[in-house]
């Protein structure tokens, strides 16, 4: 983490509300938030506090009502759906609570998915996939289907899929929420390694204080407003 470098994520006056029937529910109100390059940030807070919404907005899979989100040099709130899809494919890696692997594809094919949107040739894709599966320690399981893997292994495949395009930012929504303690610890160590060795910026939503301990910074969200720990 380089404290002198400009932040990779700059959020200003971010507001988001949802409509439920005739009611408008304010989820985020006037959020201002910077994340330094190579930082491991944990977003915590009670259910409904807006942490997953904030994560989705940073990842470009939801749109804000007001405010701006700049990731690197890109102001993503001004991008169209199509431009956002293209941007996400190259700049953000996603790690989900329930892994979100495609059940009919092998570990190798799941990891290869994001690369299919690039111009890489088949041989180059293979090299990338094998490399990241080695990083997560699953080089020997690449032909296994998700149903043939444990929860921890599935999440490691998901992490391999998240880093295979070498994105600057990894967003993780409760990455250990569906895992036992041992598997959760392995995943957290792997994420920590991605930050230390591969200089990734990780933004993680979690309820688990033990998971949050791995982060450099813990941000609490409550009633749509942020506080720093």
């Amino acid at each position: 983490m380089d404290a002198a470098a400009p932040p990779i994520v700059v959020i200003r006056n971010l507001t988001k509300s949802y409509r439920r029937g005739s009611q408008s529910i304010q989820v985020l109100s006037g959020i201002n938030f910077d994340i330094a390059r190579g930082e491991f940030v944990a977003l915590m807070g009670p259910s409904g506090s807006g942490k997953s919404t904030l994560l989705n907005l940073i990842a470009g899979i939801d749109s804000a009502d007001e405010g701006s989100i700049r990731i690197g040099e890109q102001e993503i709130t001004r991008l169209s759906e199509r431009e956002l899809a293209h941007w996400r494919a190259g700049h953000v890696g996603f790690i989900f609570q329930f892994y979100n692997l495609i059940p009919v594809l092998t570990a190798y094919e799941n990891v290869e998915l994001p690369l299919l949107l690039t111009t890489l040739k088949r041989r180059e894709r293979r090299e990338h996939v094998e490399a990241v599966l080695s990083v997560v320690g699953l080089a020997d399981r690449m032909d296994h289907y998700p149903s043939q893997l444990s929860g921890g292994q599935q999440q490691r495949v998901a992490i391999a899929r998240a880093i295979v395009t070498d994105p600057e930012i990894l967003v993780a929504d409760e990455p250990t929420g569906d895992l036992d303690r041992v598997s959760a610890e392995e995943i957290l160590q792997l994420m920590d390694r991605l930050v230390r060795e591969f200089k990734k910026t990780v933004i993680m939503v979690t309820h688990d204080p033990r998971a949050a301990e791995k982060a450099h910074v813990i941000r609490h969200l409550e009633k749509g407003e942020l506080s720093v720990t």
Binding site: T53, N56, A59, I61, D62, R82, A85, H86, R88, A89, G90, F94, F96, Q97, F98, N100, I102, P103, V104, L105, E109, E112, L113, P114, L116, L117, R161, D178
Partner: protein
């Protein structure tokens, strides 16, 4: 390549559901094909009608006769090559269930006008020489096990009495579609009997068949023939053989239209079933589609996946249904030989079957594709877990 692999694996994700849908489409396509073939057959008689043959009948109705004396006057009309005549006999063999066409004809001119009825020279000659002789189509002879020399008795309905004929020949159709399920005998035999039993009905024919020298002369000859008998006691109506046969077909037009509607309904029903299956599939995979969109896949990719699966299932069912049409048609041809001259499936029907399957696949994929591609990623991801 990857998308094809993904689509194929998705196809067998819920094996039972996919198999049932494929079978459903196959059965619907088969039913569609058989019904289309049936409708096509109904019109095939008219479609195979000769362009150089005209049929003259009483202008009031076919059930009213014409004097046989018209023969020479018709023969004298410019453009006429040959003329034959006959009567619908309507005789019953065994009982009403064993229906087949039977009519009295002037043998030589009639068989000259209908070269599609192929008869060995010897049998043809024997038939000409035997006034009580008859000829029968090969399929009819096979159905009842008739052999040349057999005695065949028909019970007259229009012409009362027991009518006995000696089978002198068995004709084959020049083409598979030629109707060879008819029996024909000498008009002179019928006429002589009428002279004895009902003299007022003698020397009358039910129809004339006119052979014209060139197809383009047909309208002109028809007008001239009808003009000859204008204001007579038995005015004529002359029309092409095709128009004459279409007159019979149009009597059953409502049934044919109903069958056609049913054939489309079958496809519409399976379309709804397939659309429901695809909607269920898409609903179950909304989280997966949201994940793919998160990774950067666009609506077009998802459309390809969903449409690919929907069209693959339908085309697989369609191909099975189209292939099954041939043995099913062969079975119908054998089992219902007395009703259909042939039950052969046309290339057009097979293409229509495949087109119907494609339409089912495309239509049933529209709603799931729309749903899958328009869902908000955040909403889709919430469905997982």
């Amino acid at each position: 390549m990857f998308m094809i692999k993904y689509v194929l694996r998705n196809l067998f994700r819920h094996k039972l559901r996919s198999i049932l849908t494929v079978v459903g489409v196959a059965v619907a396509v088969l039913a569609f094909g058989l019904l289309r073939t049936l409708v096509g057959l109904w019109y095939s008689g008219a479609e195979h009608a000769s362009a150089t043959r005209l049929v003259t009948r009483n202008a009031i109705s076919l059930i009213f006769p014409l004097p046989v004396s018209y023969l020479e006057r018709i023969r004298g009309v410019p453009g006429v090559d040959s003329v034959s005549y006959g009567n619908w006999f309507g005789g019953i063999y065994i009982d009403e269930k064993h229906f087949f066409a039977n009519y009295a004809i002037e043998p030589k001119t009639y068989l000259d006008l209908y070269p599609e009825f192929v008869l060995p020279a010897k049998e043809r000659n024997d038939f000409f020489l035997d006034r009580k002789g008859c000829i029968a189509g090969a399929r009819l002879a096979k159905l009842y096990g008739w052999k040349v020399g057999d005695l065949i008795t028909l019970k007259g309905t229009i012409f009362p009495g027991q009518w006995e004929f000696v089978l002198r020949g068995v004709f084959h159709g020049a083409e598979k579609s030629t109707d060879d399920r008819a029996l024909m005998f000498h008009w002179s035999y019928l006429n002589e009997s009428m002279r004895k039993s009902a003299p007022r009905r003698a020397d009358q024919v039910g129809f004339y068949v006119i052979g014209v020298k060139k197809p383009e002369l047909a309208p002109e000859v028809a007008l001239k023939v009808d003009a000859l008998f204008k204001n007579s006691l038995a005015e004529t109506l002359t029309e092409t053989e095709r128009a004459f046969q279409m007159g019979f077909v149009s009597m059953t037009e409502a049934i044919m239209v109903a069958i056609q509607i049913v054939s489309y309904m079958v496809i519409a029903i399976i379309m709804v079933v397939a659309a429901n299956t695809m909607a269920m599939t898409a609903r179950e995979r909304i989280g997966e589609y949201a994940t793919l969109k998160t990774l950067g896949f666009k609506s077009g990719h998802l459309g390809g996946l969903i449409f690919g699966e929907s069209v693959s299932i339908s085309l697989l069912g369609g191909a099975i249904g189209a292939l099954a049409t041939f043995p099913a048609a062969a079975w119908i041809e054998t089992a219902l030989a007395q009703y259909f001259p042939s039950f052969s499936v046309s290339v057009e029907t097979i293409l229509l079957e495949l087109l119907a399957a494609l339409v089912v696949g495309v239509v049933s994929g529209i709603f799931p594709t729309w749903r899958g591609s328009t869902i908000r990623i955040a909403d889709g991801l919430r469905r997982i877990g």
